[in-house]
């Protein structure tokens, strides 16, 4: 068996009294596209932030390419992070930089590439997400939400990462733009041959961009399987979630998070 690209072993994370991750076990194989689904507050974002090193788990281990990454130093973390690309929920473009510099950021700052060369690649990546070269000169604030997402995607793939993370890629977009972004994600991940890990609660998006799905509920992975098997999971929580029913075993938490 090959080493999984990403592996989480019994990861726990809490904030104060609130337990968010309660022993998450997860494996993502190389080249696989896994989507984690789950309701709001189920710990999806926290899982992602633990892998990215933005949060440190209270216990448990996370491995990338078989290398443990919990508690590693800054320099090692930067080397691991250079394998990553990330599309943030709100795109998180740097509003002090024009669009092309946003896309080229990882190349110029991370890989110390020459600016002219980085710009060329940035424009190429913008074209790959369907944006013309003149968009590169605009400022992020001048773009619509859908265009910002496209630029965010271009930035995530600019360094040709081995692993790409997508945080709620379709949230806040109209259904058509959401589908366009889904198509772009599938295309970009396939072209790069990258491993993808996404979190979403949009089932249409999850079905489209994944080949495997994992469901997170109350800080634990309660089901994993192939995307086409999700309708016959036989797991009542999963059934309730994918059909979006208010009635069922999942009770929405209305307490303070």
């Amino acid at each position: 068996m090959t080493t999984p690209k990403i592996k989480l072993k019994d990861v726990h994370k809490g904030f104060g009294d609130k337990v968010v991750l309660d022993g998450v076990d997860l494996e993502v194989a190389p080249g696989e596209s896994l989507v984690i689904i789950g309701g709001s507050g189920s710990g999806k974002s926290v899982t992602l932030k633990c892998i990215l090193g933005l949060l440190t788990p209270d216990s448990g281990q996370i491995e990338v390419d078989g290398e443990p990454i919990v508690g590693i130093g800054r320099a090692k973390r930067e080397r691991i992070n250079s394998k990553f690309g990330m599309l943030f929920q709100g795109a998180a473009l740097f509003d002090s930089l024009p669009v092309w510099e946003n896309v080229a950021f990882g190349l110029v700052q991370g890989e110390r590439m020459d600016r002219a060369q980085a710009k060329e690649i940035a424009l190429e990546k913008l074209a790959a997400v369907g944006l013309e070269a003149d968009v590169g000169e605009l400022w992020p604030a001048e773009l619509s939400g859908g265009m910002q997402k496209r630029v965010g995607l271009a930035r995530a793939i600019a360094t040709e990462p081995e692993i790409i993370f997508f945080d709620e890629p379709t949230t806040g977009l109209d259904p058509i733009m959401g589908d366009i972004i889904n198509d772009l994600i599938v295309k970009c991940v396939r072209e790069l041959g990258a491993t993808a890990l996404s979190i979403t609660h949009d089932m249409a998006s999850a079905r489209k961009i994944s080949d495997h799905i994992a469901m997170l509920y109350k800080g634990k992975i309660i089901w994993t399987g192939k995307t086409e098997e999700i309708d016959s999971s036989g797991e009542p929580h999963v059934d309730q979630f994918i059909h979006g029913r208010a009635e069922g075993p999942i009770q929405m938490e209305l307490r303070r998070l």
Binding site: L52, L54, N81, S82, M86, Q89, A92, G106, G110
Partner: protein, 257 residues
């Protein structure tokens, strides 16, 4: 809650905040002195702090110098000691008013802007995005700001000193009818190196305080628009108070040394 609990909670909260700030300060300073350096960003911050604050600092010190001249005349003429105006203005501006007023104005202008900018970057995940693009936010965002504050404030205050003394000159010569040559020669006679130098040391410390508080509050802001607002307020209030405290401490050090 019994009184012991609330006292304990307040003490623990204070200790935690102090520790957090100390750790942040240590990290910030250590990244200020270790490569890589972002020269373009440093230059931009220097222009923003040094050049664009000139009008504000100039106006403040000009009118402070003028008012100081008038007040000194009003007070000292009771003892027939009007001749002391030039000396009082020169010493008052260089040792106290120049650095303190410039520090407070820059706290309002720059500290607030930094807290708001970094706070917004935090809540829109731009700081997280920096991390995922293998760029250390401390190096990219915080070090250039702190170095710029530390180096530009003394320059600003030096210019402010000259303008403030000139303010006293205007009032003395054009309003009170003093001899311009005598005023200028008295100014140079009374001023010693230590007067100007102690003011510039203060300015450097205040520049560090303003930028540090701006960065600290912005970097750690949370909870959306309201959080950014609170961060901005905290940055200005804490910087202003610290400026006044350190002003006393440095004065004490220079006077007793």
């Amino acid at each position: 809650m019994n009184p012991f609990q609330s006292v304990g909670k307040a003490v623990l909260g204070f200790l935690e905040a102090t520790g957090k700030l100390a750790l942040f300060t240590f990290m910030a300073v250590s990244h200020c002195v270790r490569p890589p350096f972002y020269y373009r960003l440093l230059l931009r911050q220097m222009i923003d702090i040094g050049y664009y604050s000139l009008p504000v600092v100039g106006m403040t010190t000009l009118f402070a110098g003028m008012a100081l001249g008038l007040q000194t005349y009003a007070g000292f003429s009771r003892f027939s000691a009007e001749d002391a105006i030039a000396k009082v203005v020169a010493l008052g501006i260089t040792r106290e008013l120049g650095p303190v007023l410039a520090g407070l104005m820059v706290a309002g202008r720059i500290g607030a802007a930094m807290a708001a900018e970094l706070g917004t970057m935090r809540v829109t995940e731009q700081i997280d995005a920096l991390d995922t693009l293998s760029t250390n936010p401390f190096k990219y965002l915080i070090a250039p700001r702190i170095i710029a504050g530390l180096t530009m404030l003394p320059l600003l205050v030096f210019v402010g000193d000259i303008i403030g003394i000139f303010g006293g000159y205007i009032v003395s010569v054009y309003k009170l009818g003093f001899n311009p040559g005598v005023y200028i020669s008295q100014t140079f006679k009374v001023l010693e190196f230590i007067d100007v130098f102690s003011g510039l040391v203060k300015a450097g410390v205040f520049g560090f305080i303003v930028t540090l508080m701006g960065c600290y509050n912005g970097y750690n802001s949370q909870g959306g628009a309201q959080g950014v607002g609170a961060a901005t307020t905290n940055a200005v209030v804490s910087a202003s108070i610290l400026i006044l405290i350190f002003n006393y401490v440095i004065t004490e050090l220079f006077l007793t040394a």
